[in-house]
Amino acid sequence: MQIPTVDEKGHSRAKQLTDEIETTLTLLRSSPGILGATVLSDEQMAQLMEPWMGDEADLTSLPLPKLIDVTIDTQNPPQLEPIITELADQVPSAVLDSHRIWLANLIKMANGMIKLTSFILLLLIFTTAFTVIYSTRTSLAVHRPVINLVHMMGANDFYIAIQYAIRSFKLTGMGGIFGLLVALPVILGISYFFGSIAADFSIPFTRMQWIVLYLTPVFFSCLSFLTTLQTVLSTLKRVL
């Protein structure tokens, strides 16, 4: 939190400053989720400014605002909106600096990405199904003599279809496992990267979500299996 010591025209606000600091501190300390609020001393301010001003600078001549260090309960973080509203009402000059504000935008963007990813996943499901359909039809055309032969030996449509479907299941499963092995370090890397930006922004994978992720190859294998089975059955009925 910061409370300016001069007004917009550069005039000192020393008169009301003490009251405003008191009001702000009272408000903050009484808000749930806030563990403490302390005004930074001149020494602490000097330490903060040292990288820019050096250790010999006289800060009293500068119109530095008064800073209040607020410690929040990370387990039970405060609702910022009511605090901001209350402050705007009681201490209009007070400014709240919270990384949460820009983080909220980042999270909004991330949520947008989740929606986009869901759409891409849906596209992938359709693409996989269509790829399987066309590759199966091509394979049936290429292996027509073999299919004719086993058909003449008494293989029914389901027998032929299940041979194709099992192969398709295995191939998709192998591709899926390979994809998962590549994806896992990427996901963990991204999670680590965002987690290092802010604790709030780490990728919140629950156990169930991890299980879903691990089951993705199985899901696509099953999709491939059923698509192949149906494609072969319908193609055989048409051509044999």
């Binding site: 058909h151 003449m152 030996m153 008494g154 293989a155 029914n156 449509d157 027998y159």
Partner: protein, 249 residues
């Protein structure tokens, strides 16, 4: 196989059958014959006379464009796809070009019909080994078709056709690519099967063999079928030759 009652004890009944491909002319016309269980027939005729087409109807690859075909007593036009598949398992076919699968070795080629029928692997191993010994190819069990001679491929094709003890064996020019000695040896293999009760139809151009074994002929000419039997009267359409096979053996 089907709920419909059996109407005949014959292996195959062709009644007024014709066959044409798409909108082309009829390749076969007015075909009438029946094959009794345990009979042995040669099928003869010029190249292009329709021998392969007639055989293809017998192994359910083609359906007649006219007339009625009954196999094992069941009319084909009433059978479901799965019933036809089950019926095909009772039919062994030896193709002129063998149609072996080059990516499978001799053992697996012969085992294919049993695997399709869902036999146990232990039974498959036993039966296929016995069958390969029967055709004299137990040493080539692991060889792939490209590594085998014409005669060996022919015997693999025959072993595959008979491995599941078909009720009828159809062979299209099975002696076309082998010398006379091998042709006779193969015919003796067929005779052994015939003795076990399998009905046989062998399409061939080999006049020496026809003469030597003397079985009745299903002769095709200009798309029509004539039955030529040197031992039985000409009008006997269904000739049972089980005993005759013994005599010729």
């Amino acid at each position: 196989m089907t709920q419909k009652p059996k109407l005949s004890s014959s292996i195959a009944d062709f009644n007024g059958v014709a066959l044409k491909y798409a909108n082309g002319p009829e390749i076969l016309r007015d075909i009438n014959f029946s094959l009794e269980p345990g009979s042995f027939h040669f099928m003869t005729g010029e190249s292009g006379a329709g021998k392969s087409s007639l055989l293809s109807m017998l192994y359910l690859d083609r359906m007649p464009s006219k007339g009625r075909v009954r196999l094992f007593g069941y009319p084909l036009d009433t059978l479901s796809r799965s019933a036809k598949a089950r019926m095909r398992r009772q039919i062994g076919v030896v193709f002129q070009d063998y149609r072996l699968l080059n990516h499978l070795n001799a053992f697996d080629n012969v085992a294919l019909p049993l695997r399709i029928a869902g036999a146990k692997e232990s039974d498959i191993k036993r039966h296929v080994s016995e069958m390969l010994s029967w055709v004299g190819l137990e040493k080539q069990m692991r060889a792939f078709p490209p590594e085998l001679s014409g005669g060996e491929k022919q015997r693999i094709a025959i072993a595959r056709a008979v491995i599941n003890r078909p009720r009828i064996l159809l062979a299209d020019e099975p002696t076309g690519n082998v010398d006379d000695a091998m042709a006779k040896r193969l015919l003796h293999l067929f005779l052994e099967l015939n003795k076990l009760g399998t009905t046989l139809v062998i399409a061939t151009h080999n006049q020496a063999l026809i003469k030597h074994f003397g079985f009745p002929r299903l002769h095709l000419e200009h798309g029509r079928l004539q039955i030529i039997d040197s031992t039985v009267k000409q009008d006997n359409m269904a000739t049972k030759l089980f005993n005759k096979g013994d005599k010729n053996d």
